[in-house]
Amino acid sequence: MSGMNEFLNNIPEFDFEEVFVIPWSEFGDSFIWIFLMGFFVTATCGMLGSFIVWRRMALVGDAISHSVLPGIVIAFLVTQSRDTMPMFIGALSAGVLTTVLIEFIHSRSRVKTDAALGIVFTTLFAIGVVLVSIYGENVDLDTDCVLYGEIEYVSEDTQVASGPLAGVPLQVARMGLVAVAVLLLMIVFYRQLLVCSFDPGMAQSMGVSPAVVHHGLMILLSIAVVSAFEAVGAVLVISMLIFPATTASMLSDRMPVIMGLTVLIAALTSFFGMHLALWLDVSTAGAMSVVVSFWFGLAWVFSPRRGLLARVMKKKVDLFAEQN
């Protein structure tokens, strides 16, 4: 048990002043960027996630978040730069390739969709990891970044040189743009998305093509995943994608409310995740993921209508009513 003790001793004392106040008063700048980055990532993924979860595509999100890796690495290798555009194109094509390959394997052989998904994304991810470990030095990308993300370093990123966003770290500006774009697209195409997610047959009869909406959503998902990739890594994107949406859906049935809640959850997650990471001195992305799953745990137990407690209470009330 000596290891246990050493481990426990290593957990820093919780000091409200040090964890919550000092970062803001003394290093305000860098922390606001980390917070904003986390917020943008979680909000973008959360908004998309509300639809992804309803459409039962949660694991497609997982698959895409893994398989953009080779796209990013190949884009790096070809252009030898960390420019945004080539990276986006590489990741997008990898994302599209994933959905196409899954569909191809599923429709052309007896392999079921779930297995096809598992085969495609692990293979692409493996290719990405091998490329990273062979050419790692050249692409300035290591496997740690792939796994945990590097949101801590976001404020050290090169800053936007001019324009209204001058002084904002490039990654944050990019993620903010993606978040705004996703929000706008969701508002503009809200009806189409909604009807396609809940009743594809009706959508067809209304002249909305479910296939177009599906592919559009996939492309948006790829964009969101690739811009979040450097911040939170390949695996933790999935918690940002699923948890806010499922948590919100424990609390409400209305899509607009759900989407509003995901944004709120995003802000809370980013804030508390960052401070948890500060306190325990651990990976920020990991801490955010823990915090966001904690919200789900809360909603699962305490949700007024659907929570475990509410269910137990309801059962008791029913039983009581039956007895009388």
Partner: protein
């Protein structure tokens, strides 16, 4: 014979995969090192089991492949592939806690911690599914990501402690087979043995549960027990694979070898054997490649080896491969095409009252409503199959059916007309609605079905449109008649109605 062919193809595929992968790793930036030591020599050294260190690695990856293939087959046929994925991520906090409690990288403590975490994950998935409206895929994703997040936090905390710092826990994410110790391989061997034993002993129960859960329940089998037994074994094999493959890619070693085997055979026991073989081969090969390049994590290489096998199976599997399916499809399409041509020839002859032997290509073209070129190519196909002969005159071409061609033509027409009659008589279709249906089914009806139809319809002679149906006895008589009397090849005469 068929099986031999399959193995041959398989072997060739695996060799191809090796060449591809070997090539890729040769192009790495260590070409200089590669020159000094021969590739083949290293290969021999790795697989000869002489070096004790390498022997550990090789044995470990073989055990791993065996376990993953064995249990992967079950989860693939049970459509639980993504449970494997979720489980493999969910073990991570267990690994960390096992490490914390033991205070060192103790395989047994890590094994216990990871198994508990994995099982907790699967229980949570079903709990979320049962108590909320959230669908299974989302609950899998949540368990996967939530546990993984906790694991990442714990591991980054451990890495700050004095022991954790150099324990190489991050190797659990992508795997490093070279770091396998004898003790770990011992645990792996035990797990492999236990899994094998359980699968052999409970083979029937697991089989029934995998393919027909309702039936297995009706038999009174404890379905739930077997499900959790399987999950336990699955958690075991994920856990032992962690060191070598890594948490992120274990699911690939579960799914890919089993899916490759699934493409090759329809029998569960064969699938199990093939999946184990694939798992072992790709496991060993991945470990070998990672040994060749010190910076390369083992997991991704094993996965790439496994995917190469899958790609080969996907294209070349004798029964389910794309290419063989395409060939089969083409063969069938060709058969349908020539049967249609034969039928058209029959119909032209019938319209002429079966006078003369040959059929003018121009008449055939009118009948089939096709261009002269298309008709020519179809007749050429018939000639290639020895179903017809072509005679070229000065200004026209005539096609003659060989005896075999004539019998086939009669059979197709017979199928068509019997089916039309059946539909009008037994299924009460209108006579003008039956043609299209018969057009499709005429190529599929087997001999037995045709006889059955004939009996049902009381040996009819005319179809709903009043045309004669060539009968079976007519067909047989044609053959004997033609050969005994030495008459013209197509000496089949219609019964005088």
């Amino acid at each position: 014979m068929r099986f031999d062919k399959m193995w041959q193809r398989l072997y060739r595929g695996i060799v191809l995969g090796c060449v591809f992968l070997g090539d890729a790793s040769l192009r790495a930036d260590r070409i200089g090192e590669m020159d000094s030591i021969s590739y083949g020599g290293q290969f021999l050294r790795f697989f000869s089991m002489e070096d004790p260190l390498l022997r550990t690695v090789l044995l470990g990856s073989l055990c791993l492949g065996l376990c993953c293939g064995l249990l992967g087959s079950f989860i693939v046929v049970r459509k639980l592939s993504l449970v494997g994925d979720a489980l493999s991520h969910a073990v991570l906090p267990g690994v960390a806690i096992g490490f914390i409690v033991a205070g060192e990288k103790d395989p047994v403590a890590i094994f216990i911690g990871a198994t508990v975490a994995g099982l907790l994950g699967t229980v949570l998935v079903s709990l979320i599914k049962n108590t909320t409206h959230i669908k299974e895929d989302s609950s899998l994703g949540m368990v996967l990501a939530g546990f993984y997040g906790v694991g990442v936090v714990l591991i980054t905390m451990i890495q700050k402690t004095s022991v954790g710092n150099k324990a190489g826990l991050d190797k659990f994410l992508f795997g490093q087979a070279a770091a396998l110790t004898d003790k770990e391989v011992g645990v792996m061997a035990i797990v492999a043995f236990v899994s094998l034993l359980v699968v052999v002993v409970f083979y029937k129960q697991l089989l029934v549960g995998s393919f027909d859960a309702a039936y297995s329940k009706a038999l009174g089998l404890p379905t739930r027990f077997f499900h959790y037994l399987l999950m336990l074994l699955l958690a075991f094999s994920v856990v032992i694979s962690l060191q070598a493959v890594g948490a992120v890619l274990v699911s690939a070693m579960l799914i890919i070898p089993a899916s490759s085997a699934y493409l090759l055979t329809d029998r569960m026991h064969r699938m199990l054997i093939l999946a184990c073989l694939f798992g072992m081969i790709t496991g060993a090969f991945g470990a070998f490649l990672s040994y060749m390049g010190p910076n390369l994590a083992t997991g991704p290489l094993m996965v790439l080896a496994a995917s190469s096998v899958f790609v080969v199976c996907f294209f070349f599997s004798p029964k389910h491969g794309i290419i063989s399916r395409w060939l089969r499809f083409r063969r069938r399409a060709n058969r349908v095409r020539s049967e249609n041509s034969l039928k058209a020839i029959y119909q032209v002859r019938e319209s002429l009252g079966f006078k003369g032997e040959g059929v003018l290509l121009s008449d055939l073209g009118d009948r089939m409503r096709e261009s002269a070129k298309e008709v020519k190519s179809r007749v050429d196909a018939l000639v290639r199959y020895d179903l017809a002969d072509l005679k070229v005159h000065d200004d026209s071409c005539e096609v003659y059916l060989t005896p075999e061609g004539w019998v086939r033509a009669c059979a197709v027409v017979r199928n068509h007309r019997l089916w039309e009659l059946y539909l009008t008589k037994q299924a009460e279709f209108e006579p003008d609605h039956v043609h299209d249906d018969a057009e499709v089914i005429e190529h599929i009806l087997g001999e037995d079905t045709v006889r059955e139809l004939e009996r049902l319809l009381d040996f009819p002679t005319r179809d709903p449109h009043g045309k004669l149906i060539p009968s079976l006895t007519d067909l047989q008589r044609t053959l004997t008649y033609a050969s005994s009397k030495g008459e013209e090849a197509s000496g089949y005469s219609m019964p005088k109605g």
